[in-house]
């Protein structure tokens, strides 16, 4: 499917530019040129990165922000001093649309401010953006080197390993290939797999955790016993056994494997959270008002759980990434270059541990993984604030 793929492309840029026209036009019409131009750039950028997948949501978001800058609430304090007979409660579709968009834009702006306010969280966010750009835009500029480059051997050297130099900023690996090119090309699949694994584990955890907490009784006990059972098994040895018996040829299979082991801790966390939320007064009030179970779950319980779930998602992604890299480094997953984990595995196999020239080849993927994980953890700090409804302000 063209457009629905992660990874920068020129077609995506075109999509992004077309998408960006929407906030730009809104910005010009509403006299918010600066916001409009920023929206245009944001759309172009996200379209460039993710095609339609990034462009279409960004249209909505950036247009909402543009509108929220220009929106003047009709029911402002001055007009609302009128008597009720004098207030016009009719609202055209357009006005309703504008009001909704402005509310969305306000929420987005409040979230952004919350993100910027927390320094550690913002640092983590920048780190994540850096790695996403590195693994999506980077491949456009750095060609991947797959075949051995024998001619790069330094005079007098026994191996092709080389430390950083001007020509090869991160040095050369055991086949004389640029480490930088493998760093740039080797992170995308790993990060995507970890994110998918985290998402699956979170989805399972949220659904089962909410069910256990809301149903109570024997479903709760059954799910809790199951979760505890999986939690008590030493995870990594089990992974080793599973990985060596299953054939993990696709990243999706790998993601499912990790999700199936990661969900219990999340489920228990979500269960505890729902149990606490269930006893809140506003839930009781919703029951008294007969708002219905579906409304109570989706509109009363869930919005107050989002930040909690998001933080747990981050930790789940982090755990999955370490797990995957661990398996790869032990050589239990089919070797596919380029990959950060495979770099460590092959480097170790080719004697990089004993070669001072190979330091950069080993350290580069380790640092990349560690920095990515650090960014995740830092970012999770500000996630809570981003989703905290108490930081929102009305129109």
């Amino acid at each position: 499917m063209i457009g629905f793929e992660i990874g920068a492309s020129l077609a995506g840029l075109v999509i992004g530019i077309v998408c960006g026209l929407v906030p730009l036009v809104f910005g010009i019409r509403m006299g918010q040129l600066r916001a409009g131009v920023l929206g245009f750039l944001a759309c172009a950028g996200s379209g460039f990165l993710c095609g339609f997948l990034g462009g279409l949501p960004m249209i909505v978001l950036s247009t909402a922000v543009v509108i929220s800058y220009a929106y003047v609430n009709k029911q402002d304090p001055f007009t609302s001093l009128l008597r009720i007979e004098d207030v016009n409660f009719e609202e055209t579709r357009g006005e309703f649309f504008l009001r909704q968009m402005a509310a969305l834009g306000n929420a987005a702006r409040a979230s952004w401010q919350a993100l910027v306010r927390n320094k550690a969280g913002f640092l983590g966010f920048c780190g994540l953006v850096f790695f996403i750009l590195l693994t999506t835009v980077g491949p456009l500029f750095v060609p991947l080197e797959t075949s051995p480059q024998m001619d790069r051997r330094a005079p007098g050297a026994r191996t092709l390993f080389q430390g950083p130099s001007q020509e090869y900023p991160l040095g050369l690996d055991w086949q004389g290939r640029s480490v930088l090119s493998h760093i740039v090309h080797g992170g995308g699949a790993l990060i995507a797999t970890a994110i998918v694994a985290g998402l699956i584990a979170t989805a399972i955890g949220v659904v089962l955790g909410s069910l256990a907490a809301l149903l109570g009784g024997w479903p709760d006990q059954l799910l809790s016993v199951l979760a505890n059972f999986i939690l008590t098994i030493p995870q990594f040895p089990l992974l080793l056994v599973l990985a060596s018996t299953l054939s993990l040829n696709s990243n999706l299979a790998l993601a499912f494997l990790f999700a199936s082991l990661n969900w219990p801790s999340l489920m228990r966390a979500v269960r505890a959270q729902v149990l606490s939320l269930r006893e809140r007064d506003y839930i009781e009030a919703a029951f008294a008002l007969d708002l219905g179970l579906w409304h109570i779950i989706t509109r009363e319980v869930f919005p107050n759980m989002v930040s909690y779930v998001a933080v747990n998602l981050i930790f789940s992604i982090r755990a999955a990434m370490y797990g995957i890299v661990g398996l790869v480094v032990l050589g239990l997953v089919p070797i596919r270059e380029p990959d950060w984990g495979v770099m460590i595995f092959l480097g170790r196999q080719q004697g990089a541990l004993f070669n001072p020239n190979a330091v950069s080849m080993l350290l580069s993927p380790i640092l990349a993984i560690a920095l990515f994980q650090l960014s995740l953890v830092l970012f999770s700090r500000s996630l809570e604030e981003i989703f905290n409804p108490r930081l929102r302000t009305g129109l």
């Binding site: 609430n73 029911q75 402002d76 304090p77 007009t79 609302s80 001093l81 009720i84 207030v87 409660f89 009719e90 609202e91 309703f96 509310a103 809140r280 007064d281 506003y282 009781e284 009030a285 919703a286 029951f287 008294a288 008002l289 007969d290 708002l291 219905g292 409304h295 509109r299 009363e300 919005p303 107050n304 409804p389 108490r390 929102r392 302000t393 009305g394 129109l395």
Partner: protein
């Protein structure tokens, strides 16, 4: 006239750590349409549980809840849904009873839309405007798009009252509704509740631990004093306040501070024999108040459970055997030590 809602011999217990806590014992209470009833008592006496049973959020362990003369269980289907909405509760803590994730407009809009009480968006906005004006949150345009955390405690409590009014209730249980609100704002909210009762023909059950507040709020209604799961005294507010019958009510009234320091200083203080409230797991036999009662009569109070009966010369009902049988109470200290030595 059949009362709006009536509790008949209602018992309610909770299981806590395999221990049975009898929270309510033999509660008989009826509330007429458009009536104000105050439930007064110290914490743990079962006021809130009674309120929740009235509001239909809890069922009794045994006993009957009659609504307009019919048992609650006989309401099914559409009738049950209407009944559910007719009985509402306003919680104590306005910071916990409103979901922080929605704007005030949304909070009021959910029940209106869910129960089909408005047909169009314009009508919805009009109704929200009306409700906000009704609870004196003016100008409404200022409030409607705000989030709960942007409002003060008093404003939030008004919002939660407005939310209850969306479904046109017949009875509102106000569970300590003003005790978390600044003292300076309380009177405003109480006056508003009074006005709403008249405008909308509501019954209000006002739960409080503050007898002074009960006196102010329920002057033209009734007060029911609760102690350890039982109603110990019930009657019209002026009667109960002016001539408290039950020793517990007397002690409560004696403890209410007056605005006048002279008055407070010279007010007759009623010394309880013990400050400790017995645990619910170990409710004393006979009258539950007897270990603390300054008018304790050995052999009577600790053996027989007192029924609610009219004592001679009183207009209200009280659960106190010596008072009902002899018409007067003799302090325990005089009884054991008649010479005063």
């Amino acid at each position: 006239m059949t009362p709006l809602i009536e509790l008949k011999h209602v018992y309610r217990h909770f299981e806590v750590n395999r221990q049975r806590l009898p929270v309510l014992q033999d509660i008989n209470l009826s509330i007429a349409a458009n009536e104000i009833v105050c439930l007064v008592g110290e914490s743990g006496c079962g006021k809130t549980t009674t309120g929740k049973i009235l509001a239909g959020l809890l069922g009794p362990s045994s006993g009957e809840v009659l609504i307009e003369g019919r048992p609650r269980a006989s309401y099914t289907g559409r009738e049950a849904a209407l009944l559910r909405r007719a009985l509402q509760i306003v919680h104590q803590d306005p910071f916990a009873s409103i979901n922080p994730a929605h704007t005030i407009g949304q909070i009021l809009g959910f029940p209106l839309q869910r129960h089909g009480m408005v047909r169009s968006r314009a009508e919805l906005r009009r109704r929200i405007w009306e409700l906000l004006t009704l609870v004196d949150l003016t100008p409404p345009g200022d409030i409607v798009n705000k989030f709960p955390h942007q409002l003060s405690g008093g404003q939030r409590q008004r919002v939660s009252i407005a939310r209850v009014l969306t479904v046109n209730p017949r009875l509102i249980v106000a569970d300590e509704a003003v005790s978390m609100v600044d003292v300076s704002i309380r009177i405003g909210i109480l006056k508003m509740l009074h006005r709403l009762r008249e405008q909308l023909n509501l019954s209000i059950v006002f739960i409080t631990h503050d007898l002074a507040l009960a006196k102010y709020f329920a002057w033209d209604g009734r007060i029911a004093v609760m102690y350890l799961g039982r109603i110990v005294e019930i009657g019209r507010t002026p009667d109960v306040i002016a001539h408290p019958a039950h020793p517990y009510t007397r002690a409560l009234l004696a403890a209410v501070p007056e605005a006048d320091p002279e008055l407070t200083r010279h007010k007759q203080h009623l010394e309880l024999r013990s400050e400790d409230i017995p645990r619910l797991t170990e409710i004393p036999p006979g009258c539950a108040f007897h270990p603390r009662c300054p008018f304790f009569v050995p052999g009577v109070c600790d053996t027989r459970v007192p029924p609610l009966e009219p004592p001679p010369d009183y207009n209200q009902l009280a659960a106190c055997i010596p008072l009902v049988e002899t018409g007067r109470l003799i302090p325990y200290t005089e009884r054991v030590n008649p010479d005063g030595r």
